[in-house]
Symmetry: C2
Subunit: 135 residues, 2 copies
């Protein structure tokens, strides 16, 4: 991911919202599939670059969330992009374990709008109880 | 895009934020490129389905924004997905004119993080002044 800019001014190039967050979209290297969208604060984005692994800000837990910290399903980051308004980040990632979603599916966008409403169209690859089993 | 569910209860399946919005990611059919992320309210999502063209909610203008209404760069919608938390929507679109970004680029994610910071790595395909020229 390259050396960190000493001044960290690349982080100032991001337009953080009133909560100090930006949406971060994780797209899978190779397949191009959009795996998930989560949020990052300044520390999360800095750590993502420094570690080369996706780090998000968990709004529900109000803490940094090193993706895969419990599940092992880390995201190795190959590239970072910023949009025209500087308020959305796009990550190119390799998904460890092939499972991005806490439901045990490959990706979080597993529901498709059909005539009858939102329908799950992708299989559960691993039982979430097995993913998050406590020691 | 199929018939609209009379009850509109598919719209209740979305977890709208405190402003009544959800992030909506537009991904290009065929290339898989993530073109942009914008926001939708309930009416925008309903109209997106009904018209088959992406309709967003402009936070800056506080009104519905039929993508391409000025530029002609509409997005034809081929599919809609919802994520596991029901708070992010993913659109599969065909980008009319090949330009999604108001800067005249193919997509909004044209800046890449390099050692020196965010660098524009995609060309301007059309002068924005020509795109948005007033009659």
């Amino acid at each position: 991911m390259g050396a960190t800019n000493e001044a960290g001014d690349w982080l100032d190039g991001v337009k953080w919202d009133e909560r100090g967050l930006v949406p971060a979209i994780a797209q899978e290297r190779g397949t191009g599939q959009v795996l998930m969208m989560a949020w990052m604060n300044r520390d999360a984005l800095r750590l993502t670059r420094e570690t080369g692994h996706a780090v998000y800000w968990s709004r529900s837990r109000q803490r940094l969330w090193h993706k895969g910290e419990e599940s092992g399903h880390q995201q190795v980051v190959f590239g970072l992009r910023l949009d025209c308004d500087a308020d959305v980040v796009l990550l190119e990632v390799e998904q460890k374990g092939g499972i991005a979603c806490h439901t045990g599916r490959h990706r979080c966008f597993f529901r498709e709008l059909q005539d009858e409403g939102w329908v799950a169209v992708e299989p559960v690859l691993k039982d979430p109880n097995a993913i998050y089993a406590k020691g």
